[in-house]
Amino acid sequence: MRHEQIETNSGLMLLLILVVISIGGLVEIVPLFYINETVEQVEGVRPYTPLEQRGRDIYVREGCYLCHSQQIRPFRDEWQRYGHYSLAAESQYDHPFQWGSKRTGPDLARLGGKYSNQWHVQHLKAPRSVVPQSIMPNYPWLLETDLDYSDVAERMRALRATGVPYSVTQQEYDANVKKFGQAVADQLDINQARDSLLRQAREKDFDGIPGRITEMEALVAYLQVLGTMVDFTRYDEGFFTTFR
């Protein structure tokens, strides 16, 4: 009987197990490389600026994703509370993405612009001073620690390797100017990374401490851009259904 041949030949059994398991993987994963109709054709989505990207690193470092998702589902209750459902296109430059199904705190996908910088600083430092019923931990060190931006160019280079269009060559820079406009392209240029980080921090002063660039500065810069890149008033209500 064949059964016996397989069971008594561990090499053959190993091979057959691999074949069977990989069918499941191949069917689920391979089509994702070919299906290109699901990413919405929207304007405005750009990679993060150096300062925002450092803020994102801190977001990941502090484990914010353990309690907060960044993925608004297409349900009425979520629509009413958080705003427009998240698009695939909106996390195209996220590595790793911050979707998720664990919501101890609210979803943050459209947090940008909802509250003032001052609120974010106060809320991160001592959440219960503004929201008494909150169970979020305090993050006071964000305001005390200066931001380490010495390696920001290297971090951008690593993301570039995954496909984020941060530019190194003149050609890549020109392509970014064409795609995102001059101002954004400057921010995405790795050669100017430090300067544009410092410029954005100085101009916007997210942490409310002029002259200092704290980790809070970067994190608030990141939080304030979340979900703000796509202008949904430009699209018809039914437009996004055509991508599903």
Binding site: Y34, V130, V131, E237, T241
Partner: protein, 317 residues
């Protein structure tokens, strides 16, 4: 049942084995699955085939099988025309259908149209409309405003204004509240730390405290008064000659006991009260008292509902 031991069953041939023996006599039973279980299993297989045709399923090249199931929904285009549309089944189309149903709910639609058409005075005088405003407004306020102003609109002293009293930095009429919601606000006060000398700062703080009877008028407050109303300080430009504030500038009323920025009430001694006031006079207020703009984030009729809701929180003017 005495024959139910493995050996007996095996010998009688009642149960099949897989047909091979290990270590001479170690064998494995090949028990057939119960019939009912097997048919359920076949049923799920048949169902899945049906499912492939109804809902989106298999990937095919660059696209996928979209399924025959459709959702119909109504959209409103930019010209305001309602359009009946049909789309293949997906959660986004379902949401549009759901939102459309909610918007078309006769009671809600009628009420919303009524509130939209009514003037603020009419809304306040109509108990039915106010009931609607309170129930919808509570949810909107909780989702969008409560993070700063608190669930009940009580605010946080020194950071976010209390919305339940009748003291308004930017004006407390419904029109003004509506304007605040639509365009946001950015409170500003110049820093006087460089302009005024330390003892002058002290005098101005003392004078300001006399305005709300926190301090007794005296020599120092007279000197402060001169600075406040003179060219040196020029505080009256924004706070007004009567120091009752100028809502168009977002300047606070200094004559009442309500403190929106400096946390004076919790300070025990006059010195502490002056100290906390002086820090704000010296460093001013710049980009730290920001109310975000809600136009674009919230729908226009939601903003109107919120304006009425905030207005009726208690401090209606």
């Amino acid at each position: 049942m005495s024959d139910n031991t493995p050996n007996a069953q095996q010998k009688s041939g009642a149960v099949q084995t897989t047909g091979h023996a290990w270590d001479g006599d170690l064998q494995e039973y090949n028990n057939p699955l119960p019939r009912w279980w097997l048919w359920c299993f076949y049923g799920t297989v048949a169902f899945s085939v049906l499912y492939w045709f109804i809902y989106p399923s298999w990937p095919v090249g660059q696209t996928w099988l979209k399924g025959f199931h459709t959702v119909s929904y109504t959209t409103v285009d930019k010209a305001g025309q309602e359009q009946e549309r049909e789309h293949r089944w997906n959660t986004r189309a379902l949401l549009l259908g759901d939102l459309g149903d909610a918007a078309r709910d006769p009671q809600r639609k009628a009420m919303l149209a009524k509130v939209e058409a009514a003037s603020y005075d009419q809304i306040v005088k109509d108990p039915k409309m106010m009931e609607f405003v309170r129930s919808v407004g509570k949810g909107l306020f909780g989702d969008n405003c409560a993070a700063c102003h608190g669930r009940g609109g009580q605010g946080v002293v020194g950071m976010y204004p209390n919305l339940t009293d009748d003291d308004w930095l930017w004006g407390g009429s419904m029109d003004k509240i509506h304007e605040t919601l639509v365009q946001g606000r950015n409170g500003f006060m110049p820093a006087f730390g460089q302009v005024l000398k330390p003892d002058q700062l002290d005098d101005v703080a003392e004078y300001v405290l006399t305005l709300s009877n926190e301090a007794q008028p005296g020599e120092a407050s007279e000197r402060g008064k001169a600075i406040f109303h003179g060219q040196t300080g020029g505080c009256y430009y924004c706070h007004g000659a009567d120091a009752k504030g100028v809502p168009s500038q977002g300047a606070a009323n200094l004559t009442d006991k309500i403190w929106a920025i400096a946390d004076v009430p919790t300070q025990k001694t006059l010195q502490d009260k002056k100290a906390v006031l002086k820090t704000f006079i010296a460093s001013g207020v710049n980009n730290t008292r920001v109310m975000p703009a809600w136009k674009g984030r919230l729908k226009d009729d939601d903003i109107k509902l919120l304006a009425v809701y905030v207005h009726q929180l208690g401090g209606a003017k």
